[in-house]
């Protein structure tokens, strides 16, 4: 398991799951918060990845 993207997805899933359940009490709200956070993680990582793409290491 060394795919960067897969690891990003797994990490985002667990963190979003815990935060969604921690921050909200109703299952529907937990799902919504978790899904928003998960999408935010993935979208931010992809956008940041493309933003730093031109920079040399």
């Amino acid at each position: 398991m060394s795919s960067h993207f897969l690891l990003l997805v797994v990490f985002s899933f667990f963190v979003s799951l815990v935060f969604g359940v921690l921050l909200r009490d109703e299952p529907r709200q937990q799902l919504r918060t978790g899904a928003l956070m998960f999408g935010g993680f993935i979208a931010t990582a992809i956008v940041l990845g493309w933003l730093i793409y031109p920079f040399p290491l």
Partner: protein
């Protein structure tokens, strides 16, 4: 006169200082059990599954369970974060797990999983504490 059982009763009972300390210790040792104790079983089960799973994935990714070396502040802080994971950390220390493999391509990812699982458990403990005090 009959007494009615309300959700606030277990909260009041848990607000005793000794009980609060015990609650925090149990919530630290087994992630999610603090919430189960407070009657929030669904939340507790999610934490019980998610936090140790993150820790185990971190170990599988060859992450390191850091030693308490405060001469290097970041290593010391990472050790504290690892410690906060509770039973998974205790087991990893007892079984000599989490020695880490710096050459592994997933080493840093493993560290990230290990550290974040501990930090998430810290938030879970604080949440259980708030529930016990009746703040949530």
């Amino acid at each position: 006169m009959t007494t009615k059982s309300t959700a606030a009763e277990p909260t009041r009972a848990a607000a005793e200082p000794g009980t609060l300390v015990l609650l925090c210790l149990v919530a630290w040792l087994v992630p999610g059990v603090g919430h189960m104790w407070m009657g929030r079983r669904q939340k507790g089960i999610v934490f019980l599954l998610a936090v140790p799973a993150m820790f185990v994935i971190g170990l599988l990714l060859h992450g390191r369970v850091f030693p308490f070396e405060f001469s290097e502040p970041l290593v010391g802080l990472a050790a504290v974060a690892n410690l906060l994971a509770g039973a998974p950390w205790v087991l990893a220390r007892l079984l000599d797990g989490g020695s880490g493999m710096v050459t592994a391509v997933t080493y840093e990812y493993g560290n990230c999983f290990l550290i974040v699982s501990g930090l998430l458990n810290f938030l879970v403990i604080l949440d259980a504490y708030d529930v016990a005090l009746g703040r949530k």
